[in-house]
């Protein structure tokens, strides 16, 4: 656009003022990026949830275990392609504050159910062969400095062993990861057989079942079919899609999305005031210049466009810088918080929303001064000068 130089030069006519405004925009969009990413984590990783996976839990609550005998019955249900199980171990490493998910599982079946987890073939085989073997996600390995071959003691808070102790030792046979930045692999998996053999109580049960819906089957129908099987039994089930399950869990924290929106609302309201003020001052100062442009033949709408462009330009500069730094910040935040709040991620939707807001706020901040510029009477403006 050939007017760019004019717009750019006008934007920088008062360097300090423009710099400070850009900095305010920068901070606003930095906050936007960080809060969007954290809000995303609280949505419970809904976007990465596999639409074909269902979770079966005890109807009363997730805490209550389900009988192992259910596994075959679920597998036999129409529309079920494969099924495996998981249980909550709930231990910690060395310090009670070092808690993360540990699950006794059927190794091969679990990795088949979760193809998004990448593990070297040999490590998986070693894990399968070792009764006391375990594998962990790379976030956990990195956090505690574990390497394959280490012996890892985990303190159980719930599951005491038949020998009376509460220390469970595992051989680290492998480290796995997920390459989806939205997901997390911050868990530890070990052999269910070992768990079953050594635990002091609760034998013959599992915490929950995970199943894959067969091609062409309707997940809702399959879920209903499973729950119907166990209705009115001592252990009724509740089956839902993985997405619904994560979301219901995230919702327990409260309406985090609302809180984030309210905070960002306050931030952007203030930003609008700041930039609106800057733009109106900027226009007020050069009314006579704008009048001159009109005498030269620049049309009313062109003048409107020039002022609005200036406002949007300032927003874009500050906003893109803010989003940029915010994106870097999110990478760091995701690493730091990965073990207790997985899924901190700046989604493409958030970025697009951010850019739309830059333009929108630029328009709102500049519209009144721009209209004033458009409507100014050349004669009055020049007479005043």
């Amino acid at each position: 656009m050939k007017y760019f130089r004019l717009i750019w030069k006008n934007a920088w006519r008062k360097k300090i003022r423009t710099s400070l405004t850009i900095l305010s925009v920068f901070v606003a969009f930095l906050l936007f990026a960080l809060l969007s990413a954290i809000g995303y984590a609280f949505r419970g990783g809904v976007d990465v949830a596999d639409a074909e996976r269902l979770i079966v839990i005890h109807k009363i609550s997730l805490i209550n275990p389900l009988p192992m005998s259910y596994m075959n019955r679920i597998a036999a249900t129409e529309g079920v392609d494969s099924v495996t199980h998981g249980s909550w171990f709930g231990g910690y490493y060395q310090d009670p504050r070092n808690q993360f998910g540990q699950f006794p599982v059927d190794p091969q079946a679990y990795f088949d159910m979760y193809p998004e987890f990448d593990i070297p073939e040999e490590q998986l085989e070693a894990f399968k062969r070792n009764r006391t073997g375990a594998v962990v996600g790379q976030e956990i390995a990195k956090k505690y400095g574990w390497k394959v071959g280490d012996r890892i003691p985990i303190q159980a808070t719930i599951w005491s062993r038949i020998d009376g102790s509460r220390t469970w030792e595992f051989d680290l046979e492998g480290i796995f990861s997920t390459d989806d930045p939205r997901g997390s692999s911050a868990i530890m998996l070990f052999q269910y057989d070992y768990f079953e053999e050594a635990r002091a109580f609760g034998k013959g049960t599992a915490g929950w079942y995970i199943l894959r819906v067969a091609n062409g089957a309707n997940p809702v129908d399959v879920a209903n079919a499973i729950d119907l099987q166990f209705a009115n039994s001592p252990n009724e089930t509740e089956t839902s899609t993985e997405a619904a399950f994560s979301q219901s869990f995230a919702k327990q924290f409260g309406n985090i999305a609302l809180i984030v929106t309210l905070v960002l609302g306050a931030v952007f309201f203030t930003l609008l005031l700041v930039s609106g003020n800057t733009m109106s001052q900027s226009v007020r100062e050069r009314i006579s210049e704008l009048a001159v442009l009109k005498t030269l033949g620049f049309g009313d709408r062109t003048v409107l466009g020039i002022v609005l462009s200036e406002s949007i330009l300032i927003m874009l500069i500050g906003g893109l810088l803010g989003l940029g730094l915010g994106w870097l910040g999110v990478q760091g935040l995701a690493k730091e918080m990965g073990t207790f709040l997985p899924g901190v991620f700046l989604s493409p939707v958030a970025i697009a929303t951010g850019i739309a807001m830059m333009i929108g706020t630029g328009l709102l901040a500049g519209i009144f001064p721009a209209l004033k510029a458009m409507r100014l009477s050349i004669i009055d403006a020049l007479a005043r000068a």
């Binding site: 300090i16 003022r17 400070l20 405004t21 900095l23 305010s24 901070v27 606003a28 930095l30 906050l31 960080l34 809060l35 954290i38 005890h58 109807k59 009363i60 609550s61 997730l62 805490i63 209550n64 709930g90 910690y92 009670p96 808690q99 303190q155 808070t157 719930i158 005491s160 509460r166 009115n232 001592p234 252990n235 009724e236 979301q247 219901s248 919702k251 327990q252 924290f253 409260g254 309406n255 309210l262 905070v263 306050a266 931030v267 309201f269 203030t270 930003l271 005031l273 700041v274 003020n277 800057t278 109106s280 001052q281």
Partner: protein, 395 residues
């Protein structure tokens, strides 16, 4: 003294013509108000949650769980062990009976009114001593449950946050139905988020045999805690963690409190930085608008210090005004607002109220003060250093 008089005079002049600079001034005030509002709102969540948890704990009551358990939920005690605790030294006796309550809780799903989605609610089985081992627990509606029956009393917080918990209603968990017969008040502490029933009935319904998770005992005195702890540690039949209820609840709340603070403080700092930029903008613009006026004052003999200080004063006053506005809004809108959230430690919901405390408001004003200082300093320097002759010439 003349210096001070000068400062005073210039400051008054500044403030008197503030109305001419309304636009920029309003922007600065609102910017600061937004920071303080968000700060107070977020931190009041942490404060409120902490209050609810900690006010539940008293020094007169001890809680005993199995050694190594991070919360009641992960603990397990046998009937024999519970009896040992009840007869241990340091436990208050009412005649021949020890004032104790051996308890067990499970987590049940009840729909939360605000999200219409299931939430984990603690369902606790208690012994008759439950009301005595806790301070401030009173029945406010209906009656107490009858032992042996599928009846429950509901904490007031739980009743407001979750669906279907009114007196007279029946609620179904799995295969069993329970009648809500009463509502209890616990002074706003965490117990109000719970549903209570006879522990024997709960054990039977959830097939827990004769096992418990915790024992709460009323101590003869706060000092008896040590006596009790020693006696139980030395007893080979039991492997307990003995702590005052206050200690226990404090440890249970740390996770969430730290998390909120971890998010809240950095958020406030970032917003404050943004507000400083906004304040700087306003103050620079204020100084440039007053350019001729400042030059005239200087020509009349007012010193540069007076100009500098008066500009700083203006900036600080605007910021404090914003701080007061933000604090007031936070108090009016958020204080006492009831909400519930998942406490990871107990894996169940805790109902609490936002608490906008005086301490928080003071912290908010401190933040406003800092913003005012930083936002005013460089513009004030510029005002003081304005080349007088040139400014006058432009008149």
């Amino acid at each position: 003294m003349r210096g001070l008089q000068q400062v005073f005079a210039v400051t008054l002049l500044n403030l008197r013509n503030l109305p001419q600079r309304v636009g920029s001034s309003v922007v600065a005030v609102i910017g600061v108000a937004a920071v303080v509002l968000v700060f107070a709102a977020v931190l009041s969540m942490a404060k409120g949650f902490e209050r609810t948890m900690i006010s539940a704990g008293s020094d007169d009551t001890a809680i005993i769980v199995r050694s190594g358990a991070t919360s009641e939920l992960t603990s397990g005690l046998s009937n024999d062990q519970v009896l040992i605790v009840a007869e241990a030294p340091g436990v208050l006796k009412d005649g021949d009976t020890s004032v104790v309550s051996a308890e067990l809780y499970v987590v049940v799903d009840v729909k939360k009114k605000s999200t219409n989605v299931d939430a984990n609610v603690p369902f606790r089985g208690v012994q008759p001593g439950a009301f005595d081992v806790r301070k401030d627990v009173t029945l406010v509606d209906g009656r107490m449950f009858e032992p042996g029956k599928n009846e429950i009393v509901v904490g007031r917080g739980a009743q407001t946050e979750f669906m279907g918990l009114e007196v007279g209603k029946t609620i179904r968990f799995g295969q069993t139905e329970w009648a809500v017969v009463g509502i209890f008040d616990a002074g706003g502490n965490v117990a109000e988020s719970e549903l209570w029933t006879d522990v024997r009935v709960l054990q039977s319904a959830y097939r827990r045999g004769n096992s418990f998770q915790s024992v709460r005992v009323r101590l003869e005195s706060p000092e008896s805690l040590e006596t009790l702890r020693q006696a139980l540690d030395e007893d080979p039949r039991i492997d307990p963690d003995v702590m005052s209820e206050r200690e226990y609840y404090s440890s249970q709340s740390q996770g969430l409190v730290q998390f909120i603070k971890l998010l809240g403080y950095p958020l406030t700092v970032l917003m404050a930085i943004g507000a400083i930029f906004g304040a700087l903008n306003s103050m620079y613009s204020s100084v440039s608008v007053r350019g001729k006026e400042i030059a005239t004052l200087r020509a009349l003999g007012f010193g540069p210090t007076a100009v500098l200080v008066s500009t700083m004063v203006e900036s600080i006053l605007l910021a404090l005004a914003g701080g007061l506005l933000g604090g007031l809004l936070a108090y009016l809108v958020f204080n006492g607002f009831q909400v519930s959230t998942l406490n990871g430690a107990s894996f169940s919901q805790v109902v609490f109220n936002f608490a906008v405390t005086p301490e928080l408001l003071v912290q908010g004003l401190q933040a406003a003060l800092i913003i005012g200082l930083f936002g005013g300093f460089f513009p004030a320097l510029r005002a003081a250093r304005l080349p007088v002759a040139q400014a006058l010439r432009e008149l």
